[in-house]
């Protein structure tokens, strides 16, 4: 079994406008636009499920404040947490 990806991305279908910038920007090319239309009538982006490195580039490329959430594999214990990380509870 392959080791799990270092990161993962969730994309809120209610916020994505289907501009496609994240798909273009993603270095490991692990995002793509859905073929189906969302309720809003756009092709929202989604994560293919593997290869995400958790780099956050898609987050900074996406114009919507909360459409993309990026996760990273929990660092080994004792790692220093930044302010942002401290705020965000671990993913459920």
């Amino acid at each position: 079994m392959a080791s799990p990806a270092r990161g993962k991305v969730t994309i809120d279908v209610n916020e994505c406008k289907g501009c496609g910038l994240c798909v273009e920007a993603c270095p490991p090319k692990c995002l793509e636009l859905e073929t189906e239309l969302s309720a809003y009538g756009v092709h929202p982006a989604h994560y293919l499920g593997e290869d995400c490195t958790g780099c956050g580039i898609c987050f900074y490329t996406c114009p919507e404040p909360g459409a993309i959430t990026v996760y990273k594999m929990a660092p080994p214990p004792k790692a220093t947490l930044t302010t942002t990380e401290e705020r965000n509870a671990p993913a459920h």
């Binding site: 910038l21 990273k72 929990a74």
Partner: protein
């Protein structure tokens, strides 16, 4: 899945829900692929990471980003078109501990707001301006902006901008970098990952400088407008690189500490000091007890036609309140005419700090003519008082909620010898109704205004008589006309 931790998510500086409209409350109103959203995120993230959320006042412009106040959970003010730097100046000077951010587009900043940005930068105001340049008017449908490229088509340059007719694109960073005062000016662009991260760094640097009170900062952000450029979002990013960068080179145009000024510090004077008024008498004769004694606040509206001394009456009352140790505000409203036309002012006397000088429902209305009475009487608080400058109410006038007293101030003033003291008669009438204001205080203020001119003695005397006449009238008219 619990092995994963969130590293990038919606900033807390954004509202959870965007309540601009009943629908789509999780989305901004920006088009797909718009640069504003990215710029918003960079600003929000920097505010959050620096812990500035509760100190930040965000000034929205006119343009697509006019609704930024629906998104940023900070202090928000929306300025008139182009006036963001002027509004930000006022906010920063009034609240020096705040971080004041002005967010402007190129139509707002570089066209109608050219004067404001130039002078705010030149004064070295301690504000952060984020200037979103997409070389076009977006919200209004794609008209030519000052930053539109030569040859670029727009609805108002359908054959392409011609330098000979419409001039050249305005280089705001370069222009402002000729000034002495700014501390940091940089141009960045949102067209690829590397440059977006550079923009992030520039935004953070600007806010860091604001946090340290360094001075004026401006970050110009070249930003895509896919809709108006009629491109898909990805092509729009390429278009920035290919077409905008040659005209708007990226880089730091200014990064240095604010000039060390040899100026004397700005003296802080009270209004009376600045105007050279004599306050010794007021200070000795009126220790600051009134604010305690008053406890309650008094809001007044005075209205009439220009020339009746309406605004002056308001100033006198405000000055009296100030000398009595109260918080005061005086807000005039008048037309361009020096005489005639309508004029009114709002005066607020309060023991606590005054939130707004605008008074929607005054305790007292002084109506110097019928038009003012009819216009403002319905606004008076229930149980309030109206002083009307006539011996009787106009026909058909009825007002159940407030007490109206007809004080024929103009007639009384004429009997005293000059129509000019009609406002003082009203002041006398007002003083008989409130303990906040005293006759000695009134005379001392009037004396300060008149100054030490030779002929002022007689005018002062007439004012004294007017004050007393107003008081006496109220005592005689103990039976209200209407209650």
């Amino acid at each position: 899945m619990s092995d994963y931790q969130v590293t990038h998510s919606k900033s807390q500086v954004f509202y959870d829900v965007f309540e601009r409209k009943p629908e789509l409350q999780h989305q901004t109103h920006y088009c797909p692929g718009c640069g504003h959203g990215v710029a918003h995120k960079l600003v929000a993230e920097a505010i959050e990471d620096m812990g500035l959320q509760d100190k930040t006042i965000f000034v929205s412009p006119v343009g697509c980003s006019v609704f930024a106040y629906y998104y940023f959970d900070t202090g928000n003010v929306q300025a008139a078109h182009g006036r963001t730097p002027a509004v930000a100046t006022g906010l920063k000077r009034a609240c020096p501990e705040s971080i004041v951010i002005g967010y402007q587009g190129d139509g707002d900043l570089a066209a109608i707001g050219t004067a404001e940005i130039l002078h705010a930068a030149n004064r070295g105001e301690k504000i952060a301006i984020f200037f979103i340049n997409n070389a076009i008017y977006g919200m209004t449908g794609g008209q030519m902006a000052p930053t539109t490229l030569v040859g670029q088509t727009s609805t108002t340059s359908p054959f392409g901008r011609r330098a000979g007719n419409e001039g050249y694109p305005l280089h705001v960073c370069e222009l402002l970098a000729t000034l002495e005062a700014p501390v940091y000016i940089e141009r960045v662009a949102l067209f690829d990952n590397k440059n977006t991260m550079r923009a992030r760094k520039a935004v953070r640097k600007a806010l860091e400088l604001q946090k340290n009170g360094a001075g004026f900062t401006l970050v110009e952000i070249l930003s895509p407008c896919p809709t108006i450029w009629k491109m898909d979002p990805i092509d729009a990013r390429h278009w920035i690189e290919k077409n905008m960068l040659p005209v708007f080179p990226l880089g730091v145009f200014r990064d240095r500490p604010a000039p060390q000024l040899a100026d004397n510090p700005v003296p802080h004077h009270t209004l009376t000091e600045a105007l050279g008024l004599d306050t010794t008498e007021a200070e000795t004769s009126e220790p600051k007890q009134a604010s305690k004694a008053a406890g309650n606040n008094l809001t007044l509206k005075m209205a009439g036609f220009g020339g009746q001394g309406i605004l002056l009456l308001g100033q006198i009352v405000a000055e009296m309140g100030m000398r009595a140790g109260l918080e005061v505000s005086w807000l005039p409203s008048y037309g361009p005419e020096m005489r005639s036309g309508s004029a009114h002012c709002h005066v607020c006397l309060a023991a606590e700090r005054i939130g707004s000088p605008l008074i929607s429902h005054p305790d007292v209305l002084i109506a110097m003519n019928e038009i003012s009475l009819r216009k403002f009487a319905p606004q008076v608080k229930a149980g309030g008082l109206i002083l009307y400058n006539r011996s009787e109410l106009p026909e058909g006038f009825e007002l159940p909620q407030a007490r109206v007293v007809c004080v024929p101030a103009s007639d009384i003033a004429d009997q005293i010898g000059t129509a000019k003291v009609a406002n003082t008669v009203m002041l006398g009438a007002l003083m008989s109704e409130t303990e906040l204001l005293t006759e000695e205080s009134a005379m001392s203020v009037v004396q300060s205004i008149l100054g030490a001119k030779a002929k002022s003695a007689s005018v002062l005397e007439m004012n004294r008589r007017a004050l007393q006449a107003g008081r006496q009238f109220m005592h005689k008219a103990a039976t209200p006309v209407q209650s």
